[in-house]
Symmetry: C2
Subunit: 433 residues, 2 copies
């Protein structure tokens, strides 16, 4: 089969962390890879597809490192409530009713929103994961998928859930042209008893997979961990062996200096979810301290039920803004750092080495923003505009793994009309069941 | 002249604070006024314009109660810097060069962004205000305008600036079919010596106009006020007589309980600018306490140089999110309250009694959002979606004073192509001057 070659001409490209963070020039793709990026026009064969990059800003696709995509079905179904009331009266009764089909349509709604908004890779921790993998295959998005397991149940149920998580991870790892990878994910230290948690660690060793869990999202949860096990969550998970595996924890809002040191020493990543942490009043994570300690901090939306959208530009901007305001330091989390958190650090956090940066040899996962709009002018600093002024709806085109999946704001791979209709029908049906 | 009558059929309408915050039904307009809103279909004469409201969410136009619109020319020109460096090395040297034409194009860029993003009224405190008024007239937007005066200059210069502020306020109050009103605005207590500040108070009495100023944006400024005058800023302004006039202060980040009490007692409004306060690391205003004390809190973007866009949906969401996260109370600033801050409270804060709510007898200043998009589905609670999920770019149509000024996302009153080109040219020319 002959190669598919594309050249983007006269574009602006974001390369945060490099000598030239805003590069004006050319980028070429061959099949699923970026083969060149630079100021000089490269020679390309006849027949290459030419993309006019003028009036567009190209940047790596956004990487969403924590979420529960099917829960978009519950977007706006319960806001401004105390966490336990929200969970017990709103979320859990509805989630209990979720079938595989519900998860399929909820995930489709989320993936459609994410792709149109410039997210090219997402992490999903949920149930009915075969159906999530199905949507991933169809849509062309890249995903790191895992069955999230709550272990507050009899031992035989624990065993069957663990077996399901293992089977899913084994079956889907590397599928969809390599766009799907898998991890193992006990839900949280407070929902998985230590012995059960350790079985996940063992399975992760056996399958050579990384691990993901919720940790230290609320102050109460930290206190409970100390009461139950005599240890704060980081030391507890270290003791259970989790950090002998490549690991990512979600939230990490309530961490002391010692805990930050342990995470740094074990190279444990933290998925920072500022929108969800603010909305649920969990608090403000110590992101400047984490970054200073060398911890890899990435960004996640969490579910749309606690966010209430999946706009990673918003998370990036929140990460750049709130830590300045709370610390009193206007240089905290500068724009290039926020952009790295949303892209390259995100990819590294979920163990995708070939994703997250515009460079020759990297996977062609990238997006183009329309910069010829009032809120993107004048063109003083396009990196600043991407972080401080842009939103999901400025995304004009999206490529994943070399395939264009969004063109002029329209998703090419999913049936948007059907998804919108089914998402509404599914919510209405859940209310009646 | 015969009346222009419009009926919107089958729409959803946001009426926060009422018995039915999301009303499904009909709204009619006659010339510049809303004449009916309700569930029952009203009888209208033949020849009325009919708007199909299905798939749209109607809400009051957003009211931006603090900004410096021409500064959008400096969007992204200096981020992540310490305040004094940012002002002295970036903002002031460029602003010094601003001509009337620069202000005209900078304001045009901002008004275009605001109208397309659903802001129907803005407050502007700046220089070359005749040119701002000119853009306001042309664009169809509603505005409260004032010459912001810095008094750190010889007395004769002070006098001429005061005279200019008074002349502007007198000439333009009530112009543009009543869409322009004016206020008097000494820039801040730390930039206007007490005697000079008091001349503004006297002029405001003479002209029967309200007053606006920056106050207590930074901790340093409060300390300096105490060092210079022996009083914190609120007591200082009370002593200068400002609060004998209807007043609005911008920022109010650093307020103690006593100061909140004084503001409440004098009915002084506070324009909360969460995006700018976070970005400049000024801190987090005590909004829940202000609201509890009965202070009218509205929302402002401040300039795009410290924001970096003029998306009032973002300010509304920040206001709803950060105070939850910082206070630890998930019920702080619930969605309906955030929406009121961005609309009705905003209008009241700038002394426009007929604006900010969808109700018979109110001015027809309203917007329509496209709610048939992935991030606005399912339709669980449309008020929640407007606050927690929407952005400026979801705005489909905008009406101000009964005139449609944005249709399907396109501005009908301004030449967008010319403004975009001139904004870029103006910035480039400023760099060279």
């Amino acid at each position: 089969m002959s190669s598919k070659i594309t050249i983007i001409k006269n574009g602006h490209f974001l390369v945060p962390g490099s000598d030239k963070p805003v590069l004006s020039g050319y980028m070429t793709l061959e099949n699923d890879l970026i083969t060149y990026i630079g100021e000089a026009e490269p020679a390309v064969e006849d027949g290459a597809q030419v993309v006019d990059g003028s009036r567009l800003l190209f940047m790596p696709g956004l990487v969403n490192t924590h979420g529960h995509t099917a829960m978009s079905l519950l977007r706006g179904y319960g806001d401004d409530m105390v966490l336990q009331t929200w969970l017990q009266e709103k979320m859990w009764p509805m989630e209990e009713k979720f079938t595989g089909d519900d998860v399929y349509w909820g995930t489709s709604l989320s993936v459609l929103e994410m792709l149109k908004g410039g997210t090219t890779t997402f992490l999903d921790m949920y149930d009915h994961m075969d159906r999530v993998a199905e949507v991933t295959e169809q849509s062309g998005i890249r995903a790191v998928l895992m069955r999230g397991v709550i272990g507050l149940c009899p031992e035989e149920v624990q065993q069957s859930k663990l077996a399901e998580a293992i089977a899913f991870a084994r079956n889907w790892h590397g599928k969809a042209d390599g766009r799907i990878t898998t991890m193992l994910s006990p839900h949280a230290p407070y929902t998985c008893p230590p012995e059960f948690f350790m079985k996940f660690v063992q399975a992760a060793h056996d399958l050579d997979l990384p691990m993901h869990t919720h940790m230290s999202e609320t102050r109460h949860e930290v206190e409970q961990n100390v009461a139950d096990y005599g240890l704060r969550p980081v030391a507890h998970l270290e003791k259970l062996g989790m950090f002998t595996r490549p690991s990512l924890i979600a939230h990490g809002v309530h961490l002391n200096d010692e805990e930050i040191g342990i995470l740094a020493r074990h190279n444990v990543g933290v998925s920072h979810n500022p929108g969800s942490n603010l909305k649920l009043a969990s608090g403000v994570a110590r992101v400047p301290e984490l970054l200073r300690a060398g911890v890899k901090v990435s960004l996640g939306t969490d579910s749309a039920a606690s966010n209430n959208n999946l706009d990673m530009f918003e998370e990036m901007r929140l990460a750049a803004l709130i830590h300045k305001g709370v610390s009193g330091d206007p240089t905290a989390v500068p724009a290039p750092e926020a952009l790295l958190m949303a892209t390259e650090y995100g990819a590294q956090s979920i163990f995708l080495s070939g994703v997250g940066r515009l460079a020759a040899g990297m996977k062609a996962d990238f997006i183009a923003l329309d910069i010829d709009q009032p809120h993107m002018l004048p063109h003083t600093d396009l990196l600043s505009h991407a972080v401080y002024s842009a939103s999901a709806k400025d995304v004009e085109h999206v490529w994943v793994n070399g395939q264009q999946v969004v063109k002029h704001g329209q998703c090419l791979t999913l049936d948007e009309e059907a998804i919108r209709r089914k998402a509404q029908e599914t919510f209405e049906s859940l209310l009646k069941r």
